[in-house]
């Protein structure tokens, strides 16, 4: 444990890659989450279009029945 406490601060060139790594991990997780949500919303939009098409079909069928 003493070795851990005594570890000196890293020089800027070496520390930079760790700091960049931490912030990149955070950003990547955020982007991956947003991408997954975008895919989900795309699926909902597709389903909504299908439901709208079914509703339109039903409306046409009913109109034909009334005309007949």
């Amino acid at each position: 444990m003493e070795v851990l406490i005594a570890a000196p601060a890293l020089p800027l060139d070496e520390a930079g890659k760790y700091v960049a790594g931490a912030y990149i991990v955070f950003m990547v997780l955020l982007v991956v989450y947003v991408a997954i949500m975008a895919a989900k919303l795309g699926r909902i939009e597709r389903e909504l279009r299908e439901v709208a098409a079914i509703a339109e079909e039903r409306k046409d069928e009913r109109r034909e029945e009334v005309n007949a």
């Binding site: 406490i5 020089p11 800027l12 760790y18 931490a22 909504l48 509703a55």
Partner: protein, 240 residues
């Protein structure tokens, strides 16, 4: 309903994220002890605090669900825990990077703060299979709420136990014997904390809005007597 106010909230989150990153890299001074590595603190600690508060919020929503039997609160509880678990993944990874740079090890098993957070994270990781294992939707919601309340109560207890353990490795942020952080660091930290809180709230609202839209489409399909595409999700609660 859930999407109300999502646009200004998203804009505020992005603006705060930009401000916080500017403060972290151009305003906050370098730490005398840790140097540039200490910049990880501004993403790691606020993420951890937000994740833990999110777990407690999940427990509070679960209490509201158990009291009112309103499925809306079950959805809130599920989404709060879901987003907090994602934040937890970020906490563990950024913490490991900081530990490697600062202590020379990716993970230290005899450090109470690290291990306790891992225990909390793993506890909440079991929430999904627990929920998935129950077929009946009402029982699923009820049992998941009981889990969320119990686990939510464990979070502050765990935090207090760790504070009482006198470890010398993991740094303390507030109320240190030396008087804590200097003003610029504290301002940057508080800004980062607000940003993470806003981000958590935005993602929770975003997820609830998506679930609500999906639920409405399924209801519409049922009303039209059309087959439901992909079937119902057995894990995620349906929101109307």
């Amino acid at each position: 309903m859930y999407g109300k106010g999502l646009k200004p909230l998203s804009i505020a989150t992005v603006a705060m994220l930009a401000l916080t990153l500017s403060l972290v890299f151009f305003y906050a001074p370098l730490d005398a002890d840790q140097g540039f590595i200490q910049k990880i603190f501004y993403v790691h600690v606020p993420l951890a605090i937000t994740a833990l508060v999110g777990f407690i919020a999940g427990g509070v929503f679960a209490i509201l669900h158990l009291r009112s039997n309103d499925r809306k609160w079950d959805a809130y509880s599920y989404v709060a825990i879901h987003i907090s678990v994602i934040f937890g993944v970020a906490v563990l990874i950024t913490g490991a990077i900081w530990a490697k740079a600062s202590w020379g090890h990716w993970w230290v098993w005899d450090e109470p703060t690290l291990v306790s957070f891992l225990i909390v994270f793993l506890l909440y990781a079991t929430y999904y299979p627990f929920r998935y294992a129950i077929e009946d939707r009402d029982r699923q919601a009820r049992y998941a709420s009981v889990f969320a309340v119990t686990a939510g109560a464990f979070v502050p207890l765990n935090f207090m136990a760790v504070r009482m353990a006198q470890s010398l490795v993991h740094p303390r942020t507030f109320a240190t014997a030396e008087g804590g952080m200097p003003g610029e660091m504290m301002l940057t930290f508080l800004c980062s904390l607000v940003t993470m809180g806003l981000l958590w709230t935005t993602l929770v609202k975003f997820e609830l809005t998506a679930k609500s839209a999906s639920g409405q489409v399924k209801r519409l399909r049922r009303a039209l007597d059309a087959p439901v595409a992909g079937g119902n999700s057995r894990i995620a609660p349906e929101v109307s």
